[in-house]
């Protein structure tokens, strides 16, 4: 066990859509500062723009490694192979990624190749006094908290969105860009990506990154308009239970839970959601949990900070209207 010292390079894989950096990547850079020297990794056919460099620098990246391939055309095993180039070039012992299904798979391949320890869905990461990397995870639908130490020299950690707030560093310099040639490595895989269709970007914040998520379940009876109305009043995203997505009331990508998206927003509002264990697994680490359900026995009330026993069709519009009124009163329009 040779723990990496705080001098060590911590590589942060920057998730981005086109030229826009996703907020969780900035959270990772913030987290990386307490672990060592953050250096960003940018996968893209084009080098990062000046604006992106400034943003990454402001969040603590000293260097940006440019791997010149288009990640949207690649499968996880190839992504890992390409990331391996940056790891070898920098001698980094720690690699951080945003915990998404795609990144978890790439993390597995990367950790396999590096013989590194692997933690996915981490809710926190820190450096112990003895230099070991320590992570925090939620388990069993959020009913248990685990702290684990990586016992290998190298570590690959996929950190959940909203695990740490993104913070800028004062007076940061613009990072330098180091290009790496990865074309050969990227091309050596035998599964083929035939087609990739990006979902249109919603006007609302993305589900994983949103600070507020309003979720509708079977109790909406198929009408999501009031759920959407409250989400918009709160500036949040719209989520759903599996029942609601299976019924086709909303797209599958909105499903929160063990087989859907895992979220940790500051505020979760569930309307007509019973709180099945499969659903709780994806939302129980939310900051404040609000539940609106007409059945006082609904299990979601066991984990709700604020529960309302009532009909969502009367409660939701009332909250939305009152929130808008209070905001207008406070001069926010």
């Amino acid at each position: 066990m040779t723990p990496s010292g705080s001098e060590g390079v911590v590589l942060v894989v920057v998730d981005h859509q086109g030229a826009t950096v996703r907020t969780p990547a900035l959270e990772l850079l913030t987290a990386a500062r307490s672990l060592g020297r953050p250096e960003a990794v940018w996968l893209g056919a084009e080098a990062p723009s000046a604006a992106v460099l400034e943003q990454l620098g402001a969040h603590g990246a000293a260097v940006v490694h440019h791997l010149g391939v288009d990640p949207s055309g690649m499968l996880p095993a190839s992504v890992a192979a390409v990331l391996g180039v940056a790891v070898e070039a920098t001698g980094a012992r720690t690699v951080l990624l945003v915990s998404t299904f795609e990144n978890k798979e790439a993390s597995a391949h990367l950790a396999f190749a590096l013989q590194a320890g692997l933690v996915v869905d981490a809710a926190g990461v820190e450096r112990a006094d003895d230099g070991a990397l320590v992570t925090v995870q939620q388990a069993f639908a959020g009913t248990w908290t685990l702290r684990s130490a990586v016992t290998t020299d190298r570590a690959v950690v996929a950190l959940k969105a909203n695990a740490v707030p993104a913070e800028v560093v004062d007076g940061a310099a613009v990072p330098s860009v180091v290009p790496h040639d990865v074309a050969v490595v990227a091309a050596t895989r035998d599964a083929e990506l035939l087609q990739r269709t990006e979902r249109p970007v919603s006007e609302r914040p993305s589900l994983t990154e949103a600070q507020v998520v309003v979720v509708g379940g079977r109790g909406t009876n198929g009408d999501f308009s009031q759920v959407e109305e409250l989400a918009d009043a709160l500036g949040g995203a719209v989520g759903a239970t599996r029942v609601a997505t299976d019924e086709g009331w909303i797209g599958h990508e909105a499903q929160i839970g063990q087989t859907g998206v895992t979220i940790s927003p500051r505020l979760y509002v569930g309307a007509g959601v019973s709180g099945a264990v499969h659903h709780r697994g994806g939302m129980q680490s939310s900051g404040t949990i609000v539940a609106i359900n007409n059945d006082p026995e609904a299990p979601i009330f066991e984990i709700a900070d604020y529960g309302i026993v009532g009909d969502l069709t009367t409660v939701l519009p009332q909250v939305a209207a009152e929130v808008r009124r209070l905001r207008a009163e406070a001069g926010e329009g």
């Binding site: 396999f112 996915v120 702290r147 264990v277 309302i308 026993v309 209070l326």
Partner: protein, 262 residues
């Protein structure tokens, strides 16, 4: 086609799940079941064999109770099963698990090549969703994972996978590893005939020695992460439960403002 489906025995999600003092999943409560998401994997394998011919082998690694998981797969319709069991495996991490499953897959392949390895999208105890990728890495096979839809044609598997912000179509030449999501199918329920037939189906037991796996590389000692602390989450404090008497929505808005949530 010879399909091996990997199934895991996990504590029932509806039960009171716990960790041991050593920070391992407590598997001694006797309320384990076949991981629900692996029922989708078994279903996918059975449907492919029904369409293309061949056989389904269910494979599990785990303690004695884990045999229940492959038994369930046999009841659903798998033809035979393999159970890798060894005291040295307790506390194995995902790398050891994938290494042992890969060794068993190679061994199964000695009696006729394996065309497809099918897994669930996640084991509902650890929820890592990484074992399928690690099996692919171990065996040097292409993967087509998180399949919401899958088909085998022209010596390749073709899957549709729905990711957070994109949908992909992936093609992997056989032999390959696929994982299937809970959207991919509706698992069949074993009928009486299936349950009776399963009693006569063989379950082969292998130890690490049978597979030529060094016990030092598996188990808690070989794990790349060590749990320092496992604590049940304390109940949330200051919980409020109100009945709607007509103004609950207004009061909730006030609560949100007061707690700076808007």
């Amino acid at each position: 086609m010879k399909i091996v489906v990997c199934v895991k025995h996990v504590p029932d999600v509806q039960a009171d799940r716990r960790f041991t003092d050593e920070g391992l999943v407590d598997r001694t409560q006797g309320d384990g079941t076949l991981n629900e998401l692996d029922e989708n994997a078994v279903e996918a394998a059975l449907a492919l064999v029904e369409a293309h011919g061949g056989e389904v082998v269910a494979l599990t690694m785990g303690p004695a109770d884990a045999e229940d998981a492959v038994r369930r797969a046999l009841q659903m319709g798998a033809d035979q099963a393999v159970h890798v069991q060894d005291d040295a495996l307790a506390g194995s991490d995902v790398f050891a698990t994938a290494g042992v499953l890969a060794a068993a897959l190679r061994r199964i392949g000695e009696d006729g090549p394996v065309d497809l390895v099918v897994t669930g999208m996640a084991a509902l105890d650890g929820l890592m969703s990484v074992v399928p990728s690690l099996i692919a890495a171990e065996l040097g096979l292409p993967q087509a994972t998180l399949a919401a839809e899958l088909a085998v044609e022209d010596g390749a598997v073709r899957v549709r996978r729905d990711l957070d912000d994109a949908t992909e179509v992936v093609r992997a030449p056989l032999p390959a590893v696929v994982s299937v999501t809970d959207q991919s199918n509706q698992p069949r329920y074993p009928n009486f005939k299936g349950i009776m037939a399963a009693r006569k189906k063989p379950v082969t037991a292998w130890s690490l020695a049978d597979l030529g796996v060094d016990p030092a590389t598996v188990g808690a000692a070989g794990a790349r992460t060590r749990v320092l602390e496992a604590t049940p989450r304390p109940p949330r404090e200051n919980r409020v439960l109100v009945n709607d008497d007509g103004d609950a929505g207004t009061r909730l808005a006030a609560y949100l403002v007061q707690n700076r949530l808007v």
